[in-house]
Symmetry: C2
Subunit: 406 residues, 2 copies
Amino acid sequence: MALIVQKYGGTSVGDTDRIRHVAARIKAAREAGHRLVVVVSARAGVTNELIARAKAVNPRPDTREMDMLLAVGEQETIALTAMALHALGVPAVSYTGPQAGILTDLIHTKAKITNIVPTALRRDLTAGKVVIVAGFQGVNQHGQITTLGRGGSDLTAIALAAALQADKCEIYTDVDGVYTADPRQVQDARKLDEISYDEMLELASQGSKVMQSRSVEFAKKYGVVFEVRSSFNHHPGTIVKEEVSYMEKVVVRGVAVDKDQAKVVISHLPDKPGSAAAVLRALADAAINVDMIVQNVGHHGVASLTFTVPKDDAPRAVEVLPAIFKKLGGGEVAAYDNIAKLSAVGVGMRTHAGVAAQMFEALAEHRVNIELISTSEIKITLAVPRDRADDAQRAVHAAFGLAKTE
Amino acid sequence: MALIVQKYGGTSVGDTDRIRHVAARIKAAREAGHRLVVVVSARAGVTNELIARAKAVNPRPDTREMDMLLAVGEQETIALTAMALHALGVPAVSYTGPQAGILTDLIHTKAKITNIVPTALRRDLTAGKVVIVAGFQGVNQHGQITTLGRGGSDLTAIALAAALQADKCEIYTDVDGVYTADPRQVQDARKLDEISYDEMLELASQGSKVMQSRSVEFAKKYGVVFEVRSSFNHHPGTIVKEEVSYMEKVVVRGVAVDKDQAKVVISHLPDKPGSAAAVLRALADAAINVDMIVQNVGHHGVASLTFTVPKDDAPRAVEVLPAIFKKLGGGEVAAYDNIAKLSAVGVGMRTHAGVAAQMFEALAEHRVNIELISTSEIKITLAVPRDRADDAQRAVHAAFGLAKTE
């Protein structure tokens, strides 16, 4: 009798029909002899509605109150899911994040899980009940509701799987699994049967929308093997697990594009030790995520620094930097928000040479300009003009032989 | 610096504009130098939407899960109200019922408050914050969310006023206060400046929609003086308080009509001790509220029993009684659902004679048939044909000189 943690995302529980459908899936898994912990998200759209109402009363809502507000989305779904299971004759009980013993730090809207105390959950599992847990939320040491930020429900599921030492963790979503590229952009993209944590991480960090990095990191840290699969059909999904040797035979596992990027160019920076550090510190303090940093050291005592940031952060970067320039005695900043990042990811890159060259050749052939380059052990990322990103992705996908017909 | 508990009902916080309006009222009260605890309901309509979703997944939803579901309505409003106050520069913090220390018994969907532990509230009040509390909800000894049933938010406000020994309790709603009669039915109905708990209770139990009896009972028990007033204007409302001697000068304080009534007639009941008791016990076991009971003792060894019940309960009364008749050895039942109850209420009745006579004369003059009569110390209730109820109310209202022009 295996213990399975299932997680159903917002589209999987998007309305009462979908919730009844999910209940039927849960019932089937239970009748196959499994014990079940089910994590659910808010109905698709609810979180955005709540945010819109918050903005209507306050353009910059307090984060504690935002958590109080957003937590209602999942609380509604857990109750409805438990009721739908009761209607099918399945004993079930719902838990909010705080009730489930999901303890977090104090950072509202982006809380980290610090501990899980699943005493009540264990009791109900032993009693033969399906346990339904609200994703995305927890409680801090002051008894205040916190939320875990984007992808928080996946994190709840994976953390519960670790805490309960579950036999299996299934992340149900509206796609069939992890693909070699976004199937909406690349028609012959292929679903992967397996992927390593590291590959999944690099894809997630590079714009693949399947899962947020933090959940994958958590799974890697605690060795939680999980499957990403669809709640809309019964196809097997993609299993995300520790790297195994045969994975290295494939050089590139997949490609990803992130179009919500901007390029920030800082010029006329005094060429002295600490200049770049001061700039990056100022951006970090403003909670701006900087990526693909390139530093060109000085002509005539000045240097330049170029990097990418999420598009929405670009205006703030331009806003906060002049104060630093003043301290440093020089500097100019300009932002260009017509940038996309294109990444190729695969653990096989560790043992295969020439991947970058092959990627450059494919883009040169399609006359795509490369603006910035950054590489890691298992990933190559290129900044390209946004309007050329889709073409670039298809070219790279084909160049590495990732298509279905392979 | 007075401590005021304010409660805003569903229409008062019906949308984000209304919530901002309420925030402005709270700010004004704070700037007048008061400390404030504000209880809010769910936005009007939200509770019904949630119930509809519950019914869509399960026609008979579990009460524990129902509480889990319904509690989200108020949780949304407290967060939005706190945010709206922040936007006006007012420090505010929201609390769910459980967080506010509202402890209840175990009866889901109709929980009773057993204790209030307002430690956190007191701390935030001392820190100068406006405290926003979710009405209608609490927590039981197992840490599960409970709801207080109809009128629960009023109860939260009055119970908090008692627990915090507040100087004032203001119940904001969509009417200006308590009237001598329903102003929609009786054009010259007059708003009352004051009313006693007992009068308010009798009016509430007789169909006046302003407040549920249980909140008034709670206020009476703990001596909480409260004011019912409108959040849509700045008119003074009606103060509900302990009876004082001058109240007796007014014989009838107000009249109320309840049209959702049926008359149940039981005939051919064996005229022996215990027959009526057996019938009433059977109805009580079926959770049917019986009122205005009249027993006509026997001709030829049989008796009859007539009473009123809420209209919706009449079919069930007709259904459960034949089993009892069988045990008793006789009995027939018939229900007539074209009945309304008309009540006149006033503590002055205790010291004034002839009130019933005056009421009967007014109805005779308007040719309204009286089907049943029941009296208490401060109330006379008559069952009348439903289609004559409005005329009857106006006649009695005029006969006792309750009109505006008085």
